[in-house]
Amino acid sequence: MKLLLDSTRCQGYGLCQEHAPELVELDEWGYAQVIDLAVPAGAEDTARACADSCPNSALRVER
C-alpha cells in the first residue's frame, strides 16, 4: 500500500500527523510530509485513517 500526498491540496491542518505520527511528519510551516511512500506492513488501517482525516482530501491510499 502507498500513502500519497497532493501538495497542492495540503493546507497544513495537521490532523494526518495526529492520526499517524509514524507515517506523516509536519514541516516547520505545518505542511505534511509522508515519511515513506510505502506503508509498512501492519500499518494499513492507520494509513487509511490518516488519509480519511484530511479535511481537504490531500491524502489517499493506493494499493
Binding site: L5, D6, S7, T8, R9, C10, G12, V34, L37, R60
Partner: protein, 478 residues
C-alpha cells in the same frame, strides 16, 4: 540586444541554419529537404533511439522513450509542440518558433506519425512566434489538424501538466502527478508534450541520415553574463563536449568565477567546474544540469550570493501558489538570501539554508521549489567563502543592489527575426486575440503574480503521489 552567433571554429549547426535572423519560408524549407517524409515512423523511432536524442525542454529525457510511451499508451494520441519558455535566461525556443516554424511543424508531424496522433497543438506565449507559426500553417497546411494555443508567459506555464490544463481550457498551472500526460493528457488522451527544439531535431533526424549523431549531440544555448556592463547575451548552437570556459570566452567573459546553470534549474557552479564539458551526463555527474541550455556566467567581481538571491526571488514571485510548501519554502529561502545580500542575516541562516536545500526537494507539484532548494544548496557548496563573508557585511556588488529588479537582471531578450522578403508583412486575415491574462499583470517584478490558492478554482481530486512529484522541465521541462 541578444546576438545570434556562429563561431568560426565550429561547423554551422543544423538547427540554427543558414539564415537564423530571417523567418524561413515553406519554399526555402522544402528546398533544403524538409517535409520530404522519406523516413517511415518506425525507422525514425529506431534512429532516434540509436542516436540517443534527449529532450531539450530541461529534463533531458530520451526522446525515443517518451515517443514510445505515448504510442503504446493507447489510440488517438495528441502531440503538443511546447514553445512556452518560462526560463527568463533562455530565448532559444522563441527564436526557433520565430525563425524556423516549418522545422518545428515538420517535427510535430513526424512525432504524430510515430505516436499515431490525430491532432496537434503548438503551445506558446510569444505573440511574434504565434504569428510566424500561423503563417507557416497557412503556407504548408499539415496533414493533421494543428491548433495554436496561447499561454501566459510565466515560469510554470511550460511545465507539462500546466500545458495540458491550459489546452483543456484551464489555467496554465501544474497539476499533481501521476497521471503524467503520456498516460492521460489533453482531453484524457495519451499526450506527447515535446519541446520545440526536440521536435526540430526529430525533423532533422528524419531528413539527414548522415548527420544523426551530430543532430542528437549538439544543442542550442543561451549565454549571458551577470552584472552591470557585462557582455551582451548570445544564442549559439554548439556540440556537446565544448567546455563551459570556451562558451564564456565566446561571449567575451574571460576567466569567469562561476556560472548559473540550466536556466535557474542547474544551480550555481564555481570556477573549478568551468572545465566541464557541456554534456547532459557530464554536468549531471558534477551535480549540476544542462537544463534548457541557458548559462549565465559570473564575471570577475560578480557576486554569487546576489545572483542566487535574484534567482530565488524570481522563483518565489513565480510560484503558482498552489502548494503551501512552495509559497512558504521559496519565501524562506529567498528571504535568507536577501538578508545575506543586505548584511542583515542571522547567524543561523546558513544552517537554515542547508536544511531547506535538502528538505524542500520533491515536495511541490512541479520543479519550481526544487530549483529554489538547488540554488541554496549549490551556493553553499560552490561558494562557501563568499557566503560566510556576507554574514559580516554585504560585498560591494551587493551594496547597491535593488531587490525589486531581479526579473530584469535575469531576463535575456529574444533575438530579432525579420520576415522573409517574399511575404507581405500582414496578409490581412483576422487572427485570434492574444492570450489575455485573467489577472492584472504588472511588468517583470518580484511580487507574486499568481492568485492565492484559495481563490483559484479547486481541482477535482487527482491521483496523487508525493514521491512521484517530480521536476518537469520538461520543462523542463519532461
Amino acid at each position: 540586444m541578444t546576438a545570434i552567433r556562429r563561431p568560426a571554429a565550429l561547423r554551422p549547426g543544423p538547427v540554427l541554419g543558414a539564415a537564423p535572423d530571417v523567418t524561413e519560408s515553406a519554399d526555402a524549407y522544402r528546398a533544403a529537404g524538409g517535409y520530404a517524409g522519406a523516413t517511415g515512423p518506425d525507422d525514425l523511432l529506431a534512429h532516434l533511439a540509436a542516436s540517443g536524442l534527449r529532450g531539450r525542454g530541461g529534463a533531458g529525457f530520451p526522446a525515443a522513450v517518451k515517443l514510445r510511451a505515448v504510442r503504446d499508451a493507447g489510440p488517438a494520441a495528441v502531440v503538443v509542440a511546447n514553445g512556452e519558455e518560462g526560463e527568463p535566461g533562455s530565448v532559444k525556443d522563441r527564436w526557433l518558433l520565430r525563425a524556423r516554424p516549418h522545422l518545428v511543424l515538420d517535427g510535430l508531424a513526424q512525432a504524430a506519425a510515430i505516436t499515431g496522433a490525430a491532432r496537434g497543438y503548438v503551445y506558446l506565449s510569444d505573440p511574434v512566434a504565434a504569428d510566424r507559426v500561423r503563417r507557416a500553417l497557412a503556407e504548408h497546411p499539415p496533414a493533421l489538424p494543428v491548433e495554436v494555443v496561447a499561454a501566459p508567459h510565466t515560469y510554470v506555464a511550460g511545465e507539462e501538466t500546466a500545458v495540458v490544463r491550459r489546452i483543456d481550457g484551464g489555467p496554465a498551472l501544474p497539476a499533481a502527478k501521476p497521471p503524467r500526460p503520456f498516460e492521460r493528457g489533453v482531453g484524457g488522451a495519451p499526450t506527447l508534450v515535446a519541446n520545440v527544439e526536440t521536435l526540430a531535431r526529430i525533423a532533422l533526424t528524419a531528413a539527414r541520415p548522415g548527420q544523426r549523431t551530430r543532430i542528437a549531440r549538439s544543442t542550442l544555448v543561451t549565454l549571458a553574463a551577470a552584472g552591470p556592463g557585462a557582455a551582451p547575451p548570445a544564442l549559439l548552437e554548439v556540440p556537446y563536449g565544448v567546455t563551459l570556459s570556451d562558451l564564456a570566452a565566446e561571449i567575451g567573459v574571460p576567466g569567469p568565477g562561476g556560472a548559473l546553470m540550466g536556466g535557474l534549474f542547474g544551480g550555481l557552479v564555481g570556477a573549478p567546474a568551468l572545465g566541464l564539458a557541456l554534456d547532459p551526463d557530464a554536468l549531471a555527474a558534477a551535480g549540476t544540469a544542462l537544463g534548457c541550455g541557458a548559462v549565465r556566467f559570473l564575471p570577475a567581481g560578480a557576486c554569487p550570493v546576489a545572483v542566487a538571491a535574484d534567482a530565488v526571488a524570481h522563483l518565489a514571485a513565480e510560484s503558482a501558489r498552489q502548494c503551501g510548501v512552495c509559497v512558504s519554502g521559496t519565501a524562506a529561502v529567498g528571504g535568507a538570501l536577501a538578508a545575506l545580500t543586505a548584511g542583515t542575516a542571522r547567524p543561523g541562516v546558513l544552517d537554515d539554508l542547508e536544511r531547506w536545500s535538502g528538505g524542500l526537494r520533491g515536495r511541490g507539484a512541479c520543479g519550481l521549489l526544487d530549483a529554489a532548494a538547488g540554488l541554496a544548496g549549490s551556493l553553499l557548496r560552490a561558494f562557501p567563502g563568499p557566503v560566510r563573508s556576507h554574514l559580516a557585511a554585504p560585498c560591494p556588488a551587493c551594496a547597491g543592489r535593488s531587490a525589486a529588479q531581479c526579473a530584469e537582471r535575469l531576463t535575456v531578450a529574444v533575438p530579432e527575426v525579420t520576415e522573409p522578403a517574399g511575404l507581405p508583412a500582414d496578409d490581412g486575415r483576422p487572427r485570434p486575440p492574444p492570450y489575455a491574462a485573467p489577472h492584472p499583470r504588472p511588468g517583470p517584478s518580484c511580487t507574486p503574480r499568481h492568485p492565492s490558492p484559495r481563490t483559484a478554482p479547486a481541482e477535482p481530486s487527482d491521483p496523487l503521489s508525493s514521491a512521484l512529484l517530480h521536476p518537469h522541465h520538461q520543462r523542463g521541462t519532461p
